[in-house]
Amino acid sequence: MTKAVSRRDFLCALGGCAAAATTVGCDNITHSKFFRSRFKELGAEELQRILAELAVENNEKFGTDLVNVSATGAQPGVEFGYALDLSRCTGCRRCVKACVDENNQGREQEIQWIRVLEMEEKHGIDFHHADPYYNHETVPQEGNFYLPVACQQCRNAPCVKSCPVGATWQEKDGIVVVDYDWCIGCRCCMAACPYGARRFNWTEPKIPAEDLNPNMHYLGNRPRPKGVVEKCTFCIQRTREGKYPACVEICPVGSRKFGNMLDPDSEIRYVLENKKVFVLKAELNTRPRFYYFYG
């Protein structure tokens, strides 16, 4: 706590207050927002206060009283892994819809964390013969297959390395998260990501009140401000409570497998041990926790 206070004093002395006042306006909440510390440095008490503040703020903004913002940490003995069966995926993109419904993405900009690429069977996995904007009456189309891509939650993540302010990092359970209150919006991480997994809020994200998911996580699906980067978090607000990610739950053909890689009885372990899995762009040594296989 004392550290946070001295931080504030320091910045006020720097004239930071004046800068803040001109750019963001200066009532109490914006003041508290401007000087908010990094998530990793928040004391337990301060974190609780901020979580409550965020709930109030979002309840007011969306005219509801259901918002709950948690900050559940990584559970001991858990490392998440994901596997996707390409022979089953039909390219229906229900996962994309479920992800947007779950994670409060800006609807006007159509921010989507999953990109489903339609590829030609004759070319195999070739990003230069891929179409993310296919629009057919029915899927799958003859001669094509579908490759959904989201954050690969890399063990050796180029995005984390590139961030100049440490606003994105890997949690103990393997999820790469973004601190929306610390990100300066320089987009180095977007340039660094080999999988196009990161999205930027080019303008204020708008979510219709009736579409808001009130069950939120600080590092996950709480509504983002404009000018920050966001990405797939394996539905951190769900998976840390023992549920499946929204995309896994919705998939009508069961092509998506998810679980704790440290649990020998988990389905993900079964897939990793019994299927020939591969990762995208393996030559880059990003070592993803997201695997693909042909079941």
């Binding site: 720097l14 230069h128 013969h129 302010v165 987009r187 340039a191 990501c193 990161r198 080019w202 303008t203």
Partner: protein
């Protein structure tokens, strides 16, 4: 107390110098201020609506701002390195070359900082970069290193020029034991800022077009072409409007050196072209996008061929002794080099690196009007700053503006 007195008179005198001038000077300042205001207005739009006012999108997330930033880092680096030939060949106005070069560096770095500032989504969070209240992710993040290098370089150049001019104002020579080490330090620092800026791109495994070991050498060599081009034109302008005089031989020598650097620059470009086209992996697509277009997407193609043509033309122009020693051809060559390097290094470097994107999608980026206006504003602010600094420095250097003992 005495120093304070000197300083007060220096500041007051400087303000007076900046505020007085002939009609042409006032017109120039008014023009720059108008452009700056347009830029500020465009930026205020961007601040309230977000970076959506630019043409940047998730597929091409860096563009015109970062391209200009990269080019100007080169200008800043190269302006200072002119000190080396000036020293080696004993060009007479070495002090002037140092001062004008470093002032150009100060102005260029200021513009770089502004280009980064307008590019980021949350400029009011700049303090997150200050170690202590914020954190700077070193040694991992190349942008963090760039922040250190550029700020260090800005401070270094600012200190050198301020110290020198303030001493001259007091009619004292600079203390060589302080001054010369700083000047020499600014040379490796110049190389360092451009290297780190290149590493910002070259370190990204996701972008094969940038992920090249010769990117840093290419940056530095092309800067040694564009930086002196700016300086040569500038010296002639100063010669016309002030008492500054540089020997023609010195200018010819600079042009000759530029020819060699341009030759080397084209060689490095050729090496890159060979590697991509001969190995013909999927990575060649970025060069295709640049030189011939991909699936009908060819916005950049005419610009790139224009740039290559400019660079080759300037190379041959400066290689030939007769043409580089002709003042008209010399200036044409400078303009050609400037255009060639500017296109190659700003848009020609940033955009093909991101097109097609990492999943193969082609989004054709063309800067928006608002983006262009913001850039215009920054270039005007930088030029304004440079004009003022030169206006103050010139009479100090030629002894017209100095301390007067009022007693």
């Amino acid at each position: 107390m005495k120093t304070l007195n000197f300083f007060g008179q220096w500041v007051a005198g400087s303000i007076r110098i900046v505020l007085t001038g002939n009609k042409l000077y006032y017109a120039w300042i008014a023009f720059l201020m108008l452009c700056s205001c347009v830029g500020v207005w465009a930026y205020s739009r961007q601040l309230s609506e977000g970076l959506i006012t630019t043409s940047l999108r998730d597929q091409v997330s860096w563009g015109f701002y970062i391209g200009n930033f990269t080019f100007l880092v080169g200008v800043a680096a190269a302006a200072v390195t002119l000190v080396v030939p000036a020293y080696l060949y004993q060009w007479k106005p070495i002090k002037e070359i140092v001062v004008y070069g470093e002032l150009l560096a100060v102005a260029a770095i200021t513009m770089c900082a502004l280009f980064v500032l307008v590019d980021i989504g949350h400029p009011e969070r700049f303090w997150h970069l200050i170690p202590g209240p914020g954190i700077l992710n070193v040694p991992k993040s190349m942008l963090a290193w760039d922040v250190i290098a550029l700020n260090g370089y800005l401070i270094l150049n600012f200190v050198i020029t301020t110290y020198l001019l303030f001493r001259l104002f007091q009619r004292k020579e600079p203390n060589k034991r302080i001054f010369m080490p700083l000047v020499w330090l600014s040379i490796p620092a110049a190389i360092a800022i451009h290297t780190v800026t290149a590493f910002l791109y070259a370190g990204l495994v996701a972008r094969p077009y940038w992920n090249s070991a010769i990117l840093a050498p290419r940056f530095i060599v092309s800067a040694f072409c564009s930086g002196p081009a700016v300086m040569l034109v500038l010296m002639q302008i100063l010669q016309r409007f002030t008492k500054f005089h540089i020997r023609r031989e010195a200018m010819w020598k600079i042009a000759e050196l530029m020819a060699y650097f341009m030759g080397f620059n084209l060689f490095l470009l050729g090496a890159e072209v060979f590697k991509e086209y001969y190995s013909d992996t999927t990575h060649v697509v970025h060069m295709h996008y640049m030189f011939s277009g991909v699936e009908g997407h060819d916005t950049l193609v005419p610009f790139m061929w224009f740039a290559v043509t400019c660079s080759f033309a300037a190379f041959f122009l400066f290689l030939r002794r007769k043409s580089r020693e002709n003042i008209v051809l010399l200036n044409i060559g400078c303009v050609l080099i400037f255009m060639g390097v500017y296109i190659e290094k700003s848009m020609g470097m940033v955009i093909p690196g991101m097109t097609p994107d990492t999943l193969g999608e082609i989004y054709e980026y063309v800067p928006s009007i608002n983006e262009l206006l913001v850039a215009l504003g920054i270039l005007s602010i930088g030029t304004l700053l440079f004009t003022f600094m030169v206006k103050i420095a010139t009479p100090i250097l030629n002894g017209e503006f100095h301390y007067i003992d009022k007693k």
